[in-house]
């Protein structure tokens, strides 16, 4: 019934914006949502406005000297990573979803494992393994009897190429996940039709499956590139000058916040383009899903030779992106001995990281619930706008967020005398700006599970908005709230640039300590905190792979 659908698409609105008096009414929920949105959105807006500010001498100096290098390096990085993740991600996605070979089912979730690795951790590990003093070159010298670096050529890991390689290894899962989902959602009939029309499996892939999955692939590549632009630890360590290292240096080295913000604003233009690509391709992708029927895909059985090749192709990213680095980290941690692990210092690092991540996760989920519920109660343009504003930090690199947050807090300080800069509170605020969208997306999706009539049923049974949230929504979406907080928790654990810029004096986290030890070339000592980050990072990967297993009704062959 059209009118029923119309009515139920509108949530319970005890106090709608369009009132009898014709003026905009604001409920308590709306006011709270708006206030939070302004608070969370301001740092990004502050940086964004620096596009317009007049350029000073320092900026001119930057433009004349290093800006071109930042742009060129960032573009090369994006090009390399984009190509790598597209080929790698789509290739493995196609193999594990459409072909049958030994180990394919195991690979399906194992291919997500590299997501647990922060890029900078992989960078440190491979530097330790591959540089002149590392085991690989030492072994080569021993075998071939080379005396010094002049006797042979070995690729330099600390380079732009090395950075591309490291990031492809940890970022391809974004493309893999989305491409895999797209292949699974494609109607089997389309593929079978192309086979009956005389196409080989390879031709069917190129001419049918790939074009259909293109929006998903583009979205995955865009996400991977956003992470590339966000990266600080890898490029800093490899001495590849990009925007993030430039912002860091301008802020902390030159002491020029306004110029750092201007760099951030330029970087945000890059992000904006990617965001647009992602949005547009997702929009297009949605229209492609024509068949809602699910059927076990008729997988193409590979012969023994091709099967081994496929296994190697799919196993390599897991080996290089996850197994080798984590084994190396484990080995180094073991070697440095248990006494370094359980020192008071190490335990303090763990506690700091845990407290920060937990505080940020709880705050982000609470705020997300408030925003999501306010939007449901009154889906007016004002509340929808508030949500948009609050989600701006999504995809904005951590270094830019840090700059914007510090500037916002600086203004707040002069206005009200509240000094938050350099406190744990300021750091949690920055995390909220950066990661609120992560928790909000999860919360909003799960709020959708509570139908409008369930909400209305509670209201007509005498429960107000608060009581309904407490008694109906929260119990129903409890599981999703937990996973949302877990996602934020892990993101905060891994976060480096914002933490580095904003942490209180002498306040180290696992990520910060890993960074500073690695910067001092004490890679073996950095292994233990890095391993701890990886272990925590495994939690959402396990969550994801379970979700993937559930998304396959009758998935067993």
């Amino acid at each position: 019934m059209a009118d029923t659908e119309l009515a139920s698409s509108f949530a319970v609105r005890p106090d709608p914006a369009r009132g009898t008096a014709g003026c905009v009414r604001l409920s308590g929920w709306g006011i709270a949502a708006l206030a939070i949105a302004v608070l969370v959105g301001t740092p990004v807006v502050v940086v964004g406005l620096h596009v317009l500010t007049p350029s000073g001498d320092v900026w001119r100096h930057l433009v004349e000297t290093v800006l071109a290098e930042y742009v060129v390096n960032s573009l090369w990085l994006m090009m390399g990573v984009g190509t790598g993740v597209a080929f790698g991600g789509v290739g493995v996605a196609w193999l594990v979803t459409m072909c049958r070979f030994p180990g394919a089912r195991l690979l399906e979730w194992a291919l997500l494992l590299p997501m647990a690795m922060p890029a900078y951790v992989v960078a440190y590990t491979y530097t330790g393994l591959l540089d002149y003093a590392g085991p690989v070159q030492a072994a080569l010298r021993a075998v071939f009897g080379w005396g010094s670096a002049r006797d042979y050529w070995f690729p330099e890991i600390r380079s732009l190429g090395g950075a591309v390689w490291v990031m492809v290894m940890v970022l391809y899962p974004y493309v893999y996940m989305l491409a895999r989902a797209a292949f699974l959602e494609q109607s089997v009939c389309v593929l079978e039709a192309s086979r009956t029309l005389g196409r080989s499996p390879w031709q069917a892939f190129r001419q049918v499956a790939l074009p259909l999955a293109r929006p998903a692939i583009a979205a995955g590549v865009a996400l991977a590139l956003m992470e590339t632009l966000n990266d600080f630890g890898t490029v800093h360590y490899f001495a590849v000058d990009t925007f993030t290292t430039g912002i860091y240096r301008t802020w902390l080295g030159l002491g020029q916040p306004a110029v750092a913000a201007q760099l951030g604003a330029v970087l945000m233009i890059f992000v904006l383009v990617l965001l647009l690509v992602e949005r547009l391709s997702r929009g297009a992708g949605r229209t492609h899903h024509t068949s809602s029927r699910w059927r076990t895909l008729p997988r193409f059985r590979l012969g023994p030779g091709a099967g081994i090749l496929a296994l190697v192709f799919c196993g390599l990213p897991i080996l290089l992106g996850f197994a080798v680095p984590s084994l190396a980290l484990a080995w180094w941690s073991w070697q440095s001995g248990a006494e370094t692990l359980f020192t008071a210092d190490f335990l303090r690092l763990v506690r700091n990281s845990f407290v920060l991540a937990a505080a940020a996760a709880v705050t982000a989920v609470l705020v997300a619930v408030l925003l999501g519920y306010a939007q449901r109660l009154d889906p007016s343009w004002m509340n929808r706008g508030a949500v948009r504003l609050a989600s701006l930090g999504y995809a904005v690199p951590g270094s830019v967020i840090a700059v914007g947050t510090l500037m916002t807090l600086g203004v707040l300080n002069t206005l009200s005398g509240v000094l938050l800069i350099g406190s744990v509170g300021a750091l949690v605020y920055a995390y909220l700006v950066r990661f609120l969208a992560v928790s909000f997306n999860a919360v909003e999706a799960s709020l959708g599970k509570v139908t409008a009539s369930i909400e209305a049923a509670s209201r007509t049974l005498g429960k107000g908005a608060w009581a309904t949230l407490r008694l109906v929504h929260v119990p129903i979406i409890r599981g999703s709230l937990l996973s949302a907080s877990l996602l934020v928790f892990v993101d905060v654990m891994k976060e480096l640039p914002a933490t580095l810029i904003m942490r209180p004096f002498n306040f180290d986290t696992l990520a910060v300590r890993t960074f500073s030890l690695a910067s001092d070339e004490r890679l073996a000592d950095a292994a233990a905190p890095a391993l701890a980050i990886v272990l925590v990072g495994l939690a959402p990967v396990i969550l994801l792979s379970r979700a993937i297993a559930r998304s396959r009704p009758g998935g067993g062959e």
Binding site: D3, L6, R13, D15, T20, T451, A457, T460, L461, G462
Partner: protein, 355 residues
């Protein structure tokens, strides 16, 4: 019947001149309807006529842009007042039942009873579940129940807090035909025995006539006719009302001397001017047929529909349908005499159909 209620404070539910628009698009345009205490009133109408919105306004789930809602003499909406749904003490039965998935059957029914003490609450839950015949399912979970069982639990849940008013939104549309008749019957008896005033929304005229003491037929956000089921069926105010309650034969006619001339003889056309174009609506069951070689009606086809037979006729160049009880299957080409039951024929000015 609305007018005399307007003067003093009306008991039950009274919606007075309700207007509502979604994003500037009007859906309810001046609806006035009363539900006297203990009575069942149906809002009947096609998709998109605004009946569900009217129901939601009565519940307080939507706020009308104009008009007043009073409940047992208390103003609950209008004149700057808007009581939220939780403060109105109304029961709402949803199309999808809307049982809380995280609560079992007993906890669902107890949801609106937190003002009662523990012992009294569980007594009330037991009583309600017994009344709808679901007492053996108190510990079950909503997903374990069939559609009909969910509907009964939802009814018990809505009635448990002894609401001042029950609002039913297409409560049987999710059930298959056979189950629907049974659940409908049971729901009617539960509602009648609890003595609660009820406003129900449906698009099914048969369902409305089965359930209602009075029917308000809506179209395009307005009430076209309000009255008892017999009134609407036997004295439809417009061709829309007549055709909404079942198939009709429509014949264009001219008024001449206060009469219209039909193939079945002249028919009185009160209130119509001479020479005016008019429409004659005849219900298919208003034609009585009997075999007659000199008859004016010729059989085109005959079909058995179960309890009735449907005869396609040609009468003076018109194609008409007639419904005859039981088995009546004249061969194609048979001549029949057709007689019109004047109470089943209605004459309207031709413009009325377009209004």
């Amino acid at each position: 019947m609305i007018d005399d209620m307007d003067q003093t404070c009306p008991a039950g539910l009274y919606l007075d001149g309700i207007f509502h628009a979604y994003d500037g698009k009007p859906v309810v345009r001046g609806v006035t309807v009363a539900v006297p205490p203990g009575q069942m009133v149906c809002l009947l109408g096609p998709s998109g006529c605004g009946k569900t919105t009217t129901l939601r306004i009565a519940a307080g789930l939507e706020r009308s842009s104009r008009g007043r809602v009073t409940l047992n003499c208390q103003l609950v909406s209008g004149d700057g007042v808007h009581l939220p749904p939780e403060a109105r003490n109304v029961g709402f039965l949803f199309q999808d039942y809307a049982l809380f998935p995280h609560l079992n059957v007993a906890a669902n029914v107890a949801f609106g009873l937190d003002r009662l003490g523990r012992g009294e609450r569980s007594r009330r839950v037991d009583e309600m579940l017994r009344q709808v015949g679901m007492d053996s399912y108190a510990d079950s979970w909503p997903h374990q129940l069939s559609g009909g069982q969910q509907q009964r639990v939802a009814l018990a849940r809505a009635l448990a807090p002894k609401p001042r008013l029950m609002l039913l939104d297409e409560p049987f549309s999710g059930l298959d035909k056979r189950l629907r008749d049974q659940v409908r019957d049971q729901t009617l008896h539960v509602l009648k025995s609890s003595g609660v005033s009820t406003l129900m929304v449906t698009h099914d005229p048969e369902e409305a006539m089965f359930m209602a003491d009075a029917i308000a037929l809506m179209k395009d956000g307005r009430i076209v006719q309000f009255g008892s089921p017999e009134e609407l069926y036997l004295r439809p105010a417009t061709p829309f009302v007549a055709s909404f309650f079942g198939e009709v034969n429509l014949i264009p006619v001219q008024v001449d001397g206060g009469m219209v001339h039909t193939p079945f003889g002249p028919l009185a056309a009160p209130g119509l001017e001479d020479g005016q174009a008019a429409e004659l609506l005849i219900r298919p069951e208003g034609l009585a047929l009997r075999p007659d070689p000199q008859g004016t009606a010729e059989v085109l086809a005959a079909r058995m529909l179960g309890r009735v037979s449907l005869i396609h006729l040609r009468v003076g160049g018109l194609h008409l349908h007639a419904r005859v009880p039981g088995h009546f299957m004249p061969a194609e080409g048979t001549r029949l005499a057709a007689e019109l039951d004047a109470s089943q024929a209605h004459v309207y000015p031709a413009e009325a159909g377009k209004a």
